[in-house]
């Protein structure tokens, strides 16, 4: 009975104390409300106003269509963009409030006051923790509700999906909790406000920053050690801000569905954020119990945290400084910067920890130990002491292998880089391709090499090679070789590509795609992968949308829309896919050297999952006869800018790299004179400028004429790293844009220039 009374009293007291604290921190709720007010309702209202503005009305004929289009715009906006301000303001506010709620620990007067009160540290901690969370979360929820009420007030309530909103709210709350836990934890470690904020910042960004720095030091190791995701990607999960960026980035790439969606957060990210929240909150609570009241005023409460934080800062600052120095000087400067900035960081830390400038030279042995550790780490990666970079397994030790050569036939177009082949000839082919690259170190080992890499001049065509081995032992090994000269692998890659087993592995996703899962398909003639296409580019598209097999066609409001017959749209899309499958099976390496004729963007529904889609792009080459036959019937118009003039030049460079360099130098000379010179560059001035190096062999005037020339010579098509150029000709194209001239230079493919201009 007495125990019950006592616990009731305690609970009542805790409740009253909580309410009192909520009232005393009312100003935090006001600030949160203002921030969320702008991030939510105000931002939403601006969007609603823009979507429903008069300028949109003229495009549409009926009110229903207008409303539907407006709703679709709002749905697209709420997929990611509409939530971005809420995500980020919630995280930032959580970090700030977490500090504010425990600022009293950094003030002697306040510590003495609170800890002399008849309230245990546990109760005080819980009270501050809960109050800080409530003050952040309640205004957030209120303002989110207001945002959606506004949407409903604009007659768009139908787009609101409670499940999606709850999902987003859940993620925001999780990110708030993670960020808040970090801030609260940092409050327990630090004894002054300055160090509290510094520790908070380090804990918020420490892991990704360290990963980023070491990746610059040796990108081969850190980019590949963990496979997919790389260590850098994995490290982002340990920072709520970066995790939010990563998540927003992933959902913003979701395809244009006409319903409100929220892609699920990756399981690993959820686990890390949840673990961080629980782990750091619990640790903060334990540390609060142990925290001596008299520690207030010290830079760091627990001496054991000093060398750890110091070593981290010394490492990050020293390596960053080294990389900056090596970018402007030679390699000696790297070591000079590493040593000097490590010592400077140590000194700065000592001044902060001891609150005394005279203490900067203290604990130098500790500095020396950390510095030696840094130099050891640098040396291990720099000189490949672990043999990581030089590792190349024998073909017989490989169970399967996957190889991607970026730019040759970028596998990322097709959705998945990890399509393996177990074919013995493919394994041998990969080994043969990589052997001279690995043994001859024909790749950029790290950003430490910077501009000094002999293979990364900017003028020689280079590529990245991603290779994955699944070993007989079951282990998976990843490597990425960057800035590999294309010429060094061309022959070996040709041999490999021409093997059907390799192509079947490369195009596995395409070859296994079922036509009945097609959601939509977009065809353009330039293989433009950027989804945010500039309307001015007059990209001509044909869009046929099939909703789960049901045939329905929408015509996008673009002048050059190609009409696909309603009855045949789905069949057309299925036919394109099937034709493309046959074409890639037969494709030869030589086809890759030719210009791409079309780009087909295909979106498919994931089987067994509702509202889950994936997509890939299918570049179509001249030799893809079956696909070309179908696409040519669709009467796809030319895609280009309105270029008003084309100047064709002949010159005599020894290589394509030299030709590019010559054009770059000419442009730089022009830029050095003035921007005005560039804006008002006349044809005469252009010819004069290049007169020493090139001879004008032809001039075409008028948009239609230039377009015809472009179509004839395939100027706008980028054929990848193995395309053969005619090193003797280039074209300057003039595009008149808002009163100023925009000059582009283009190289010509071999054999595509009409004789009259040669």
């Amino acid at each position: 009975m007495t125990s019950n009374n006592s616990s009731t009293k305690t609970a009542r007291k805790q409740g009253t104390f909580l309410m009192h604290s909520l009232r005393s921190y009312w100003w935090i709720a006001v600030i949160c409300s203002v921030v969320y007010g702008f991030a939510g309702p105000v931002f939403t209202m601006l969007k609603l106003d823009s979507v429903t503005s008069v300028s949109n009305v003229s495009t549409f004929t009926t009110e229903e269509l207008l409303l539907e289009t407006q709703m679709n715009q709002m749905v697209r906006w709420f997929r990611a963009e509409g939530f971005i301000p809420l995500y980020f303001s919630a995280i930032v506010l959580a970090a700030v409030i977490g500090c504010v709620m425990f600022f009293y620990l950094q003030q002697k007067k306040q510590v003495n006051f609170y800890h002399s009160q008849p309230i245990t540290r546990t109760r005080l901690f819980m009270n501050q923790y809960i109050v800080g969370l409530l003050l952040n979360v309640v205004p957030l929820l209120v303002m989110m509700a207001v945002s959606f009420l506004l949407v409903a007030a604009y007659r768009m309530g139908a787009i609101i999906d409670i499940g999606v909103i709850l999902q987003h709210t859940g993620y925001i709350l999780l990110l708030i909790l993670a960020s808040y836990s970090i801030a609260v934890f940092s409050g327990q470690l630090a004894g002054t406000m300055m160090t509290q904020m510094a520790v908070n910042t380090v804990l918020h960004f420490g892991v990704p920053v360290a990963a980023w720095v070491v990746n610059m030091l040796c990108n081969l190791f850190f980019a590949t050690y963990n496979g997919q995701p790389s260590l850098i990607e994995a490290s982002l999960k340990f920072s709520p801000v970066c995790a939010a960026f990563q998540y927003i980035d992933s959902i913003s790439h979701a395809t244009g569905l006409p319903v409100m969606t929220a892609e699920p957060m990756e399981g690993g990210m959820l686990a890390v954020l949840l673990g961080m929240t629980i782990g750091l909150s619990a640790l903060a609570w334990v540390l609060y119990q142990k925290r001596p009241s008299e520690a207030t005023g010290k830079a760091l409460v627990y001496p054991v945290s000093e060398p750890i934080l110091k070593a981290y800062l010394m490492f990050v600052v020293a390596i960053t400084a080294g990389l900056i120095f090596v970018a402007v000087g030679n390699k000696i400067f790297f070591y000079f910067a590493v040593v000097s900035f490590a010592i400077l960081t140590h000194m700065t830390c000592e001044v902060i920890i001891q609150h005394d400038f005279k203490a900067m030279a203290k604990r130098m042995p500790q500095c020396a130990v950390i510095l030696v550790l840094i130099l050891v780490i640098v040396s291990v990666f720099r000189f490949d002491l672990l043999g990581y970079e030089s590792y190349l397994p024998e073909p017989e030790k490989m169970q399967r292998v996957s190889l991607t050569v970026s730019g040759a036939e970028d596998i990322s177009f097709y959705g998945n880089e990890g399509n393996y082949s177990a074919d013995a000839a493919v394994k041998q082919g990969v080994y043969d391709l990589l052997y001279p690259i690995v043994t001859g170190q024909q790749y950029r080992t790290s950003d430490f090499d910077g501009n000094h890499s002999p293979y990364d001049t900017g003028y020689e065509e280079t590529t990245s090679i991603t290779v994955r081995y699944q070993m007989n032992s079951g282990k998976t090994v990843n490597r990425i070789y960057r800035a590999v000269p294309a010429s060094a692998i061309e022959e070996a890659y040709q041999n490999l590509y021409n093997r059907q087993a390799y192509r079947e592995a490369v195009y596995a996703d395409v070859l296994t795609a079922a036509p009945e899962t097609i959601y939509n398909m977009t065809v353009d003639d330039t293989m433009i992968y950027n989804q945010d296409q500039d309307a001015e580019r007059r990209v001509v598209e044909t869009v046929a949308v099939a909703y789960e097999g049901e045939i329905a066609v929408t015509t996008v409001p673009m002048a050059e829309t190609i009409k696909v017959e309603k009855e045949s749209s789905y069949a057309t899309m299925a036919a394109i896919l099937e034709a493309y499958k046959l074409d890639v099976k037969d494709r030869r390496f030589d086809s890759l050297k030719k210009a791409r004729q079309y780009g087909v963007h295909i979106q498919l529904k994931r089987q067994g999952l509702s509202n889950s889609y994936y997509y890939f792009d299918m570049p179509v080459y001249e030799d893809d006869k079956r696909t070309m036959a179908i696409l040519s019937q669709l009467d796809i118009e030319e895609n280009d800018r309105n270029y008003s003039d084309a100047l064709i030049f002949r010159c005599d460079p020894s290589s394509e790299a030299e030709l590019r360099k010559m054009l770059d130098v000419a442009y730089l000379n022009l830029e050095a004179q003035s921007q005005k010179e560039i804006d008002n560059l006349t044809i005469e001035r252009c010819v004069e400028m290049l007169s020493n190096q090139a001879e004008l062999t032809g001039q075409i005037t008028g948009v239609d004429n230039v377009n015809q020339f472009i179509q004839q010579t395939e100027l706008m098509n980028d054929g990848g790293i193995f395309v053969e150029y005619d090193n003797s000709h280039f074209v300057l194209l003039r595009y008149n844009h808002t009163g100023s001239n925009d000059w582009n230079n283009q190289l010509l493919y071999k054999g595509t220039l009409p004789e009259q201009y040669q």
Binding site: H20, S24, S116, S293
Partner: protein, 304 residues
Amino acid sequence: MTEKTGITVTGLSKQFDKIQALHQVSTTIQKGSIFGLIGSNGAGKSTFLRLLAGIYRPDEGQILIDGQPVYENEVLKQRIFYISDDQFYFPNSNMEELAAYFAVIYQKFSYEKFYELTELFRLDSKRKLNTFSKGMQKQAHIILALSCRPDYLFCDETFDGLDPVMRQAVKRLLAGAVVEQQMTPIIASHNLRELEDICDHIGLLHQGGVIFERELDHLQSNIHKVQCAFAAPKSREAFTGLDIVTCEQRGSLSVLVVRGSAEETEARVKAMEPLYCELLPLTLEEIFITEMEVLGYDIQQLIY
């Protein structure tokens, strides 16, 4: 079994980095007494009070208040109030807001007492505390402390900054609380005159240790200043049988501070047939200075 009352400190030690603030302090403070804590600067008085208030955790030893350890003891701390030498108040708050806070925290908080004392001290409870003078802020905190009706009140330099009238009023209030509710105030101060007026027990701290802890009356009745003149000057050694603390010769006049009862001291000096002899009681301040001189904390050494 009798319930243990009062404060019992045993082997208490506290160290801040390399500084030993308190070392093996043991003392007892009876319930219902008014305990004055005196000591040199840096003696550890504030540390001692913070340990008593449960702010600091002892490195060694224990503090029992009414038989219970104080650190993290929420129930016991309901009966304790600590007034710091640099008391905190919420930014832009007034006395009423602080009272509302303490009313939440302290179950025995009395608004009746609060308004009674606010009126007595003529303070505006709605005026912001940051507009109060230092002395008025002290008064405000004393009012709030007494309104919480604690059994133990720990005051660190509380009389500093109060004008003589207010000092008197506070002393009366404390004395009243001792009589009415058996409150035990422990007052650390350098203002020995004030302590002498109000305290019945005195503890002297020096360099982290308790030098003595006694009843004030007993302390004062057991040490005296003796002024005596002899036909010929007498050396310190000549005063046999006296427990001399200090001895000063000014020509034929000898000024001694002697421990022991007044009767016994007077009898021994008079047995030496002085031309003139007078026994004077020592003020607390004089006792403090004398005791500190014995410990080598001599003002003459400091100045000269």
